[in-house]
Amino acid sequence: MAYSELIKNFNRIRDYMREFYVYGFKSREEYTGKSARSYDDERRRLESWLGDYMHFRQTAEGKNVFISIDSRLSRHNPLFKAWKTKSFTDGDITLHFILFDILSDSESALNISEITGEIDRRLACFSEPRVFDESTLRKKLKEYVSQGLIVSEKKGKVMYYRRSEAAPSLNRDALDYFSEVLPCGVIGSYLLDKGEVRKSCFAFKHHYITGAMDSEVLYSVFTAIREKRSITMETVNRHKDRITENHVIPLKLMVSAQSGRQYLMAYTPRFNRITAFRTDNIISAGPDDVCESYDEFHRKFEEMLPHMWGVCTEKRPGRSLQHVEFTIRYSDEEKHIPGRLEREKRCGTVEHSDNNTSRFFADVYDAGELIPWIRSFICRITDIHFSDSALEERFKKDIEDMYALYGLGGEEQ
């Protein structure tokens, strides 16, 4: 098939964008899962959509392509562009504009033969006018009815169609902001596309933009959560390159503002437990039945929250929690440090022993999740204890390894 700038299936480009944006060190030859032509086509498409953000580097292993974006500088997520690339047929686009021109207000409804007559009248000016048969027209109208753009109503035995109510004028500041901070923000971007282009009042710091690529999956997941339905989803294990089908009951979306990862928390009947699924590993999600015991699983999850530092949950009922505690010291000039502990403590507890010493402790399902955060207090940790001795040993060994890395105690690596 000839190359086209537009695509039919988003999932293919989703993988490439992730690779180019997050990693960006692989050469063409390393994209082993895909054909060389497929790689060339996807790279060319991304170049066409994201132009200025695409970069190239020549290495001994070949030419590397990567996407580099300082998300603090771009007021709108550049990755939204990928969602605006769905392919269509010549008939689709012609019919779309003519149909909405014919159904120009929400007051007047027309039936199929009246619409067909209007289409033919408008297209008569072309040398070889397109002809849309009734079945094509009905199919397209049905599609727009399901999208909420057109309303159908039966009068006697005849179906009439009219356009839905006109869109109210929308607050563009709110769209600028919420399209960047809420899930499925690309929908806000679609709405912004309809108005005049102007500079947004908002910029974003610590802004992770890759979540945008999971929007379709999240739309299905949220719909299921609101309807208390179970879903069937396909997930990929990238390490094992394996795709699995899972039947789960979706409960919450958990978002990390510090790593950009998003997780679906869901009850998995097969394992009889609530677990986290990275949304970027969910390929598709489709609705199943309404779950009778939804509220029970939801309550179970809420009960777990006071012991969740991140997304790790209770592995087995009754399994004991892991305890972690550490003490830090700070000078009189470092009064922001206890403040930092307080605002970052999450489910933990902070006690201020004196003016220069504070102690943090928590009982959690997985104390390993705290380690990166505890390391950020390096230079002031006077005491640390994990109930899991292997974890404590690893923490202390890591610190020793860091000393060695910088030639401060061990043999330099």
């Binding site: 066409s48 392919s87 909420g148 739309y219 978002v255 940790i381």
Partner: protein, 299 residues
């Protein structure tokens, strides 16, 4: 479906072309300019050809159109559901009357469906009346470019008054705070005590332009315990480059705002021995200072 051609760049481009053509014949040059504004790098190879070959029967050879009115679309169910979810967010109060309520649909999600589990707990109070009116005045001043007088309390408890024209508001989800950015000023909205329109003449020429100083840090990364993915995702929001330099070893360079050096330092420390900073020397010294201080703690 979110991924639909009706929201696509091509449909928007064609809508813009038709909008012109309903009032006057469009030339190839007009079409080219509209494509450049609304579509992608290579769209110029596709859209004019499809129009001129009458594959898309929307523009006649003379540049007029059989379409009678400017193209518009009602809101789709998908758009209404998302807007209704936006209307449920407590931060919506910052924006005044938004008109995002649609009785015929349910919100796509509610605030309680989402937990941002690692944001800081001392975020701004978006329900506070004073905060809301300050926010609205600042966004208005940004759009209409007029000076405002801002009074804050500094760390020593003293009142500080600044007159400025705000450039933009910067939001951090991690901090859950807005900051006002203006030439020579970065002010946390939560610290603003009073904010009002300034009627005094304001000499824009005298104001220093806020140009952020960029710094960079380079490090070697060992891909142990899934560190490659964790590190690259964690630093994904920066401009960066990554090279493989050996089996499970990578060389990463990240550009960041110089003001955020301490934050960058602790973020790098959080990855422990998986990261070894190699440049610049002053950053290595900062790491060493912290490690030496830790050694003196006896742990």
């Amino acid at each position: 479906m979110i991924f639909s051609e009706i929201y696509g760049a091509y449909y928007n481009t064609v809508a813009a072309i038709i909008s012109e053509a309903v009032s006057h014949p469009v030339s190839n040059e007009d079409i080219r300019k509209i494509i450049e504004k609304h579509a992608f790098g290579e769209s110029i190879l596709t859209i004019p050809e499809a129009i001129n070959a009458e594959r898309w029967q929307l523009i006649k050879p003379d540049g007029t159109t059989p379409i009678e009115g400017k193209p518009t679309l009602p809101l789709s169910t998908l758009q209404k559901r998302w807007l209704k979810a936006v209307a449920c967010d407590p931060r919506i109060k910052l924006f005044g009357d938004v008109n995002f309520d649609f009785p015929d649909v349910e919100p796509l999600f509610l605030p309680e469906d989402i937990i941002v589990f690692d944001k800081y707990s001392d975020g701004d109070n978006y329900e506070d009346g004073e905060y809301i009116s300050n926010f609205r005045l600042i966004t208005d001043a940004i759009k209409n470019r007029y000076p405002i007088k801002v009074i804050t309390i500094n760390r020593k408890g003293k009142s500080v008054c600044s007159v400025l024209i705000p450039d933009y508001l910067e939001y951090s989800e991690k901090d859950d705070k807005f900051r006002l950015i203006a030439p020579g000023h970065i002010i946390n909205l939560g610290r603003i005590v009073k904010c009002k329109k300034s009627n005094k003449p304001f000499d824009i020429g005298r104001v220093r332009q806020s140009r952020k100083k960029t710094a960079s840090v380079s490090f070697e990364l060992s891909d142990e315990r899934n560190a490659l993915e964790r590190v690259l995702l964690h630093f994904a929001h920066f401009e960066k480059s990554v090279e493989r330099i050996g089996e499970d070893r990578y060389f990463v360079t990240i550009k960041y705002d110089n003001d955020d050096e301490t934050e960058m330092l602790i973020r790098i420390l959080s990855f422990g021995p998986m990261i070894k900073v190699t440049a610049p020397g002053c950053f290595i010294d900062l790491i060493k200072q912290r490690l030496l201080a830790q050694k003196s703690c006896g742990q």
